[in-house]
């Protein structure tokens, strides 16, 4: 699992970029398929010695088709576990394994729900 790596990166961002601030919200994109509980636990371990409060919000994945403009959500039910795992590691693999449900194009964009971002509160 790379939840630990992501938690460390989040802590490093707080320490290196937001030094002096104490309260944050972490947005977790859904496409990543992060194990949120594991990530939260890893995050709490990382910031234990710091006076920092973090909140978490998962952002649902939203896609928009560049061919027909249809908007759709990430539906992983059609994917086998290996394909899901590949998307977990590298979300852009979604362009291989997913098609627009309306026109079957794989030329779509991820509008929301990609990556992990942090914002001070």
């Amino acid at each position: 699992m790379h939840e630990f790596s992501l938690a460390r990166a989040t802590k490093d961002t707080i320490v290196n970029k937001y030094n002096g601030l104490h309260k944050f919200i972490i947005y977790i994109g859904q496409i990543q398929q992060i194990d949120i509980e594991l990530f939260k636990q890893a995050m709490l371990d990382e910031i234990r010695e710091f006076n920092i409060e973090v909140y978490f919000e998962e952002i649902p994945a939203k896609m928009k088709c560049n061919a027909c403009q249809h908007e759709f959500i990430y539906d992983k039910t059609s994917l086998n576990s290996e394909e899901q795992e590949n998307i977990h590691f590298l979300p852009e693999m979604i362009y291989i394994y997913i098609r627009c449900p309306n026109c079957k194009s794989n030329d779509f964009s991820i509008v929301e729900g990609r990556g992990i971002f942090i914002k001070p509160l």
Binding site: M1, H2, F4, S5, L6, R8, A9, T10, D12, T13, N16, K17, Y18, I26, Y27, N66, N86, F89, L90, P91, E92, M93, Y95, I96, N106, D107, S109, I110, R114, G115, I116, F117, I118, K119
Partner: protein, 247 residues
């Protein structure tokens, strides 16, 4: 709002001392072949990582003839495909199926890969890139300021004039001259072009020029790292490379 992967990437790369970006604004001039050979010969002396950043047209897995994939522990560990040679490619995740992505997603692919990959002892990273001066190159120029850019040109006037433009952009973004790698792709050498003004300009414009030899039957050497290392013209190239490094 800050993307946490930027700090993640810095952390994962903190022990990598040297990054060599093999690039060209011209396609088909030998970038992947040269990435393959440079990483094969450098890993004789040090621990090398080699990444295929040509996400839509990956070739290194074919050049190395490998189907090894990563292992997982707190991120991903690139496989050691040969002694002291670690390999990273999107084919680990794509199963070599066709991938079509827009430029706007390239940044995400690069950040993601570099934020989760453990380079475990790798000192030198060699990056193979796609042709043109678009997203992948721009992202690399953004994140790898200190890298050594090995700009590849074949011996054609069209290549010279195109490559000059990339060199000019690298100089502008990094403040340093790149290394020019003249690839004798057609086996006729460079003497017949020595009066060409683009060629002259190219030589003047780079920190150093390395001449990469024409390789007969190159495809027979795919995946044969030990044999590659023994080719006399490659040994000569390696001496040039070592010499350049010392100055």
């Amino acid at each position: 709002m800050i993307d946490v992967r930027i700090e993640g990437m810095k952390d994962k790369l903190k022990n990598v001392k040297r990054v060599i970006v093999v690039c060209s604004s011209k396609g088909g001039v030998g970038k992947s072949t040269i990435s393959y050979i440079i990483s094969s010969i450098l890993s004789e002396d040090m621990v090398v990582g080699v990444c295929d950043f040509d996400f839509t047209g990956p070739s290194l897995h074919i050049l190395f003839r490998t189907n090894m994939s990563f292992t997982e522990s707190d991120g991903i560990n690139p496989p050691e495909i040969y002694k002291n040679l670690f390999f990273l490619s999107v084919t680990f995740f794509s199963n070599d199926r066709p991938l079509a992505i827009r430029g706007s997603s390239i940044s995400d692919v690069i950040l993601e890969l570099l934020a989760i990959t453990n380079w475990n002892g790798v000192e030198t990273l060699v990056i193979d890139t796609p042709p043109t001066i678009t997203d992948t190159m721009l992202e690399i120029l953004k994140y790898f300021h200190g890298a050594e850019f090995f700009v590849v040109s074949s011996n054609s006037i069209l290549s010279y004039s195109t490559v000059l433009k990339l060199i000019s952009i690298i100089v502008e973004r990094t403040g340093r001259l790149p290394i020019l790698v003249m690839n004798d792709l057609s086996g006729v050498g460079f003497d017949n072009k020595s009066n060409n003004t683009f060629y002259q300009e190219l030589l003047n414009y780079s920190k150093r020029t390395l001449f990469f030899p024409y390789l007969n039957n190159i495809e027979e050497y795919y995946g044969k790292i030990e044999d590659i290392r023994k080719i006399e013209s490659i040994r000569k190239f390696k001496r040039e490379l070592d010499f350049y490094e010392k100055i």
